[in-house]
């Protein structure tokens, strides 16, 4: 065991990643993960704080210090159990959580040097979680889960473990929600998601794809056949810019662009789903979140001539994970900050040819505390673009809520729930992006688990 002084002298173990020149040409995973040697070295840097701020910042309270202590001793299986107690999707969260704003952002080591690579450690130990088995005793209660994103999957897992008979209904033909249609393979391999779903199946969770609740069966139909329902339908309704030219060929919502690539595998030669050929052509992405980074980096991989992210605030406000921003830059994505699109222009065939942008500056902080961008009067410019991807956020999909008018819906179309996820309708719970608006995988997972606890209490008592 290194002494405190030795720990302070060690530098952060870098996550091995494939070189940018290589990964730009394919959709395979970029970050390769630690091996056993690297993970022990990195874990042994941890100061094992007595009152660890990292745990406070973890939305689901993973016992990070306990976990790291076991990893440093090479006790990976025990470490895996510690993670699994609080996080039902560690192999996914280890890859996609915004650690720099959660655990790693709070790490004491990070004040003077680099924080412990908690995400990478979590990702490593997730492989040591033992296979799942069906619950020993069943309760006979049936629960329906609507939506197979992280909220629905986490809720399903806990309820199955408690012995309930759980069926997940998913509108699309694949399971996983944003994890399969939104987040690209190079960041989250679909086999990782499939493994998590396989674990749930091993616990007895049933899955039905191609079922849109609210379109075929209604919420009330589900309440006839099930004792409780969890709604985890996400925030899948893409926002558009509402500028002239948004209907031109070559203008996509990030959801459509990413769905064609990730869900429909349009980048594979034998896929029947088309994607516009952007080989050598200029691509623009509007937005600065993870979705924008995923779209930009996917465009790079499709052979775009150039990919530019246009974001209306400055670098500091970019909402994406830092690692994705760095990876995007390494792969050649250009950032045009403090710009906002005014108009998309096209040719006679209705194809996008250019975008007119407004330069912005940061004004006074708004209610959210962020400095809001204001236009620099008269400072506009036009640039050639053949494909534009609008990644300015998603709103809750109103399909289910419109079909269930008795559900209480908030101002932005989100569902109104109490701390346990209960809606105003008895036996109906909700969590994830449908409640918070577009947020994160870990928050959705945490909400799914809280709702599972509340549903369990509703069904069998505390």
């Amino acid at each position: 065991m290194p002494t405190r002084k030795e720990r302070l002298a060690m530098s952060r173990t870098a996550m091995p990643t494939r070189p940018a020149d290589e990964r730009r040409n394919d959709f395979e995973e970029v970050a390769l993960g630690f091996d056993a040697g690297a993970v022990v070295t990195e874990a042994s840097r941890c100061l094992l704080c007595r009152r660890p701020p990292c745990v406070d910042e973890c939305p689901v309270g993973v016992q990070i210090v306990d976990l790291i202590e076991h990893v440093a001793e090479g006790r990976f299986a025990e470490a895996a159990e510690i993670v699994a107690a609080d996080n039902s999707l560690p192999s996914i969260c280890g890859r996609v959580c915004p650690q720099e704003r959660q655990c790693e952002g709070a790490c004491v080591m990070g004040r003077k040097r680099d924080p412990i690579a908690i995400g990478a450690i979590e990702r490593f130990v997730a492989d040591y979680i033992p296979p799942a088995a069906p619950a020993a005793e069943t309760t006979g209660h049936k629960v329906a889960i609507v939506g197979s994103g992280p909220a629905g999957l986490a809720c399903a897992g806990d309820l199955a473990r408690a012995g309930h008979d759980v069926t997940v209904f998913e509108a699309l033909h694949e399971l996983g929600g944003v994890l399969v249609y939104g987040i690209p393979e190079f960041r989250l391999p679909k086999s990782v998601v499939a493994d998590e779903i396989g674990r749930l199946e091993a616990q007895g969770v049933a899955f039905e794809t191609d079922v849109v609740i609210g379109a075929s069966d209604s919420l009330d139909d589900l309440l006839v056949t099930h004792d409780a329902v969890f709604i985890g339908v996400g925030a899948g309704l893409p926002r558009f810019l509402n500028v002239p030219g948004e209907h031109l060929i070559g203008v996509f919502s990030a959801n459509e662009f990413l769905t064609r690539l990730n869900l429909m595998k349009a980048y594979e030669p034998d896929s029947e789903t088309p994607i516009i050929d952007i080989g050598g052509l200029p691509v623009a992405v509007f937005g600065g979140g993870n979705t924008a980074m995923d779209a930009a980096r996917s465009a790079v991989r499709l052979g775009a001539g150039s990919v530019t992210v246009f974001y209306r605030r400055s670098d500091e406000e970019l909402p994406a994970r830092r690692e994705e921003i760095e990876h995007a830059k390494e792969e050649g994505v250009v950032f045009e900050l403090l710009t906002s699109p005014l108009e998309l222009r096209g040719n006679d065939e209705g194809k996008l040819t250019s975008v007119v942008l407004q330069r912005m500056e940061l004004g006074e902080p708004d209610e959210s505390g962020r400095r809001s961008p204001v236009p620099l009067e008269g400072d506009t410019f036009e640039t050639d673009v053949s494909l534009a991807i609008v990644a300015i956020g998603n709103a809750p999909n109103p399909l289910l809520t419109n079909a269930s008018p008795d559900l209480e819906v908030g101002r932005r179309g989100t569902l109104v729930v109490d701390d346990g996820g209960a809606t105003n309708k008895t036996g109906v719970y909700a969590g994830g992006d449908i409640v918070t608006g577009g947020a994160t995988v870990i928050l959705a997972m945490g909400a799914g688990r809280r709702a599972a606890a509340a549903i369990n209490e509703y069904l069998v008592g505390a």
């Binding site: 191609d210 379109a215 558009f240 209907h247 070559g250 769905t259 029947e272 088309p274 209705g350 109103p398």
Partner: protein, 276 residues
């Protein structure tokens, strides 16, 4: 879960009627709604309008014109084969009220989509006039079925081989001078729906058209199906597919439906609009 094809029946050259087991869809389907279908493992998702359904027996019927890769593969399937994915019913049902006399205009395979609306409108007590148009005699479909529900059926062919020589728009233009038409529903290729809307615009006869933009998910998640209606962006899969024909921007619809012609030309041959 997959969806068994129970029976197929050729209706015209390249046009086949499929009866498919899809109990959930059959139970809640209403006229005007569609399903998204995948035909092969690596296949695309295409929208197909449900032309008939039996809730008790658990089947739906789809009428498909083999116009490109996916629909051609589907045309090669028969009873006993299975479709990997059928999801729905999607979209808003046709508005069905007692309007009086309603002209139901179908162009090409659009007739298959117009047919359930004709049935529903007749059941609501409307006097239905069906105008069925096709390029040539062999392509006229569902004439007998339409006669069961419509008080008057007008057939037109572009080449004059059957019925009236000319377009459905010519027949409609005459019809509205001959009798009072309270409402028009038009389903078919874009130029035909645009033409119908122009015929009825001067008299402001309420005219509903069923749009067929390119779709991916069909649940409002991608926005690929967006259309401009009355200056506003609407998603055809959830806000439609039926819209006020006088408000639709057909130019944009037409342009957007051409987005993948190059892909289709080199990768395979397929116009994307499955029900044009």
């Amino acid at each position: 879960m997959s969806f068994a094809i129970l029976a197929t029946e050729p209706l015209a050259p390249q046009v086949t009627r499929f009866r498919v087991s899809a109990p959930r869809v059959a139970r809640s389907h209403r006229a005007g709604q569609f399903v998204i279908v995948r035909v092969e493992a690596n296949g695309e998702r295409i929208p197909l309008t449900v032309s008939d359904a039996d809730a008790d027996a658990g089947w739906i019927e789809l009428i498909v014109q083999a116009v490109g890769h996916t629909t051609s593969v589907m045309a090669g399937l028969g009873a006993g084969d299975e479709l990997p994915d059928v999801v729905g019913p999607l979209g808003r049902p046709t508005d069905v009220e007692a309007y009086g006399t309603v002209a139901v205009v179908g162009g090409g395979v659009g007739t298959a989509i117009a047919y359930p609306a004709a049935v529903a409108l007749a059941a609501e007590g409307n006097d239905v006039v069906a105008i069925i148009g096709a390029r040539t005699k062999e392509l006229v479909i569902l004439e007998d079925e339409m006669r069961q529900v419509a008080g008057q059926v007008i057939v037109t062919t572009d080449d004059g081989t059957k019925g009236r020589h000319g377009f459905v728009t010519d027949a409609l233009a005459d019809l509205i001078t001959e009798r009072t038409i309270d409402r028009v529903i038009a389903v078919g290729p874009i130029p035909m729906m645009r033409g119908v809307a122009e015929v009825t615009r001067p008299q402001a006869i309420p005219t509903v058209v069923s749009l067929n933009p390119i779709m991916v998910d069909g649940t409002g998640m991608c926005g690929g199906c967006r259309v401009l209606v009355g200056g506003e962006t609407r998603f055809a899969c959830v806000d439609g597919p039926e819209f006020d024909g006088h408000q639709v921007d057909f130019d944009i619809l037409d342009l957007r439906n051409r987005a993948y012609l190059e892909f289709e030309a080199c990768h395979r041959q397929e116009p994307s609009d499955a029900h044009a």
